[in-house]
Symmetry: C2
């Protein structure tokens, strides 16, 4: 992609209302624009990052047997009245049609997926069933000031599973947990599996996947010796005390952002909608249901909070909008030649072909944060200058070597 | 994908309210489920078809320089009040937040893209600008009885372009028209470019891309000798009369479905939002704006209306959910062997590995409508039986030959 293209140009001036790092840098870098509090437009660069995050999560969901579907955003009120959500969930957006019919905007999809599963599940042979989608959600938040961390409109991956037994649910739950940890590793985030409350409808403990960041809206206590981690909301221990699990380490307090979660929904929703399956003897049972969320747009925000410096964003390579940022100082033929050659190798290139000063181009590249920068200038002749975003040194290498290095860095593409 | 998988199994019983062919066959084939009138769930097979339709259109939009973005679904009322749409558009869904703020649900995105373009466009150097998205829309329709043809919630590709002059707009308009015709060819639909009214805010003529089908909600008059085609709503001629364009052919009347459209929006929206650019002399002008829609979910419906027989759907190969439907009658090792071998060749396979009678499997394959069927049975030994969905004959060939044929059919994948 060429940067003589007004939809992907960074802006110098920090945006109004940019109280958080993710909001400020994502707007300045040309990734998003705020339409209103908690509601964002995704520009070409932002959509590319979002799509890469989706792909990382989608691959793991497919590996564990999740089947991708797409559920509507506009829901009949009836479904939400069936579960009690219509009256109990204060963030539920409600609206009326011209003819007076009541609708809700999906803030989660249990109310849609459970009646769907009721159509798909007849007998024990149809279990387990795992359906997921990557789609938008709406929440009528009173306060939306954390950039992409807390949206009125945001995207998430939501997986729902149905099981013949609690034991089968527990088995699948572990598979999802491992899939999540793999996906976190791929986007270079360290997630703490945190005990939390089960939400409005459950006495059970849920698990949140928390990434420590000062921009986070949760407080967690984590052990410095073992994996124990608990949301402060439900903790019966205090910061500084000995870990109740390993009895060795000390508990530290930290701010964290919840990127994913796992709920044991038990039989709440299947009972509400009368979803039963027949066992081998033909006897009817309610299945056990689980739900597993992952915020895709929130992941983008957390990545920016974790990976930036005072010059801009530093994207992990798995979600960088492009593989390479090509900076062409002289705007000669050499830039176009390398641009075409890299593209022929299936390398994704952002080419700064603008007639701007070198300093402007370097500053914009720092803001955008692509891991590899190739510079073409008078001094590089037929070679290129190779520089990593997080390093201060550069070196001049030939073009073939740069291609080899890029392929190696991005796992042979 | 294996069919021992309850989310992709066809159902025999025609659905309630399945008045149109597309609704009935898409539900029976396991592609969608209706949540309420005009609002559908996309099951794994349906999502795959939708995604292939998106890809066909996306490729053409990128080729003409369109830049993909994603705009919110929840809009501030202010934007719609600025253009007059808040009071004039009867299908606009409106809602209030808990704190009393007014929002609209996007039924189109001129109200969002124009202020965005105002931020991106400063001078003539930033023009032309072409932004598009593939995203959901909401319309408060009084009547939603044509299956996926008229949705309360539906997906479309919407492209918006901004130009320094009417002449530049006309040039780009022709490029979009050609891109559309290429995409129609790829999905094997013949579209008639039809003169229509410019909609609520324009005296100008717009162009609709109409596909003739009895399920369509429009009436068109088309010439049997030249390309002239006009929406009956604005026609000043009658069926049977001589074509006003070529003066040779006769005008025929037909039912048609509008799959795409092109509007010359002139300066309506740019004036409403005060979007100006500076020319080379620094003088301010309003650009010319165009918008170009394409219904992706509606395309799925039109394809089913056009390509089906009394047994089920017959997908064009570019949008078939899978390349091959593998039917394994004996459920022996041979089926799995071929399944793995095809997948290793990057061939997308739907494998009916269920313990069902051959007749059930053949009937389900006919309903689903994948263009190529491979059958493994006792009589095929180490070979396979090759059958096209729209042919009645089959032949036994070896597996390598079947792979060659599949690759040739799908353009080497």
């Amino acid at each position: 992609m060429k940067m003589t293209n007004s939809a992907i140009i960074p802006i110098r001036k920090p945006p109004k209302g940019g109280e958080t790092v993710n909001h400020r840098l994502l707007v300045q870098g040309g990734f998003v624009r705020q339409l209103m509090a908690g509601v964002y437009i995704y520009l070409p660069l932002g959509l590319r990052v979002l799509d890469k995050i989706r792909q990382v999560i989608r691959a793991e969901m497919n590996t564990i047997g999740g089947q991708e579907i797409l559920m509507p955003l506009l829901h009949p009120a009836k479904n939400w009245k069936t579960t009690g959500g219509w009256d109990n969930i204060d963030v539920l957006f409600k609206l009326k049609s011209r003819t007076g019919k009541d609708f809700a905007l999906g803030q989660s999809h249990e109310e849609i997926v459970t009646p769907l599963a009721k159509e798909l599940i007849r007998s024990y042979r149809d279990l387990p069933l795992a359906l997921y989608q990557i789609h938008w959600k709406f929440r009528d938040e009173l306060r939306s000031k954390s950039g992409l961390l807390r949206g009125r409109e945001f995207e998430m991956k939501d997986l729902y599973s149905f099981h013949a037994s609690q034991r089968d649910f527990e088995k699948f739950y572990k598979e999802v947990k491992n899939a999540y940890l793999k996906a976190f590793k791929k986007v270079e985030l360290e997630a703490k599996v945190t005990e939390a409350s089960g939400g409005g409808f459950s006495e059970k403990i849920s698990y949140e996947f928390m990434v420590t960041t000062d921009a986070g809206e949760d407080d967690i206590l984590y052990c410095d010796a073992c994996e124990f981690c608990i949301n402060l909301e439900i903790a019966k221990v205090k910061a500084g005390s000995t870990c109740p699990k390993c009895t060795q380490g000390k508990l530290n307090k930290a701010k964290a952002a919840e990127v994913g979660n796992i709920f044991d929904l038990g039989q709440k929703y299947v009972k509400d909608f009368g979803l039963e399956y027949r066992d081998e003897q033909g006897k009817a049972h309610y299945p056990i249901m689980g739900c597993y969320g992952w915020g895709t747009t929130r992941t983008m925000a957390v990545l920016v909070e974790k990976f930036h410096d005072d010059k801009g964003i530093i994207w992990p390579k798995s979600v960088s909008p492009y593989h390479v940022h090509l900076i062409d100082i002289n705007q000669g033929q050499q830039g176009e030649l390398i641009y075409n050659r890299l593209q022929n190798e299936n390398i994704e290139v952002l080419w700064d072909d603008r007639s701007k000063a070198a300093g402007v181009k370097f500053a914009d590249a720092d803001l955008i944060g692509i891991p590899v920068r190739l510079i073409v200038s008078e001094k590089t002749k037929t070679n290129v200058e190779w520089k990593r975003r997080m390093e201060t040194t550069s070196e001049i290498i030939d073009i073939s070597s740069s291609i080899d290095r890029i392929k190696q860095l991005y796992n042979q593409l």
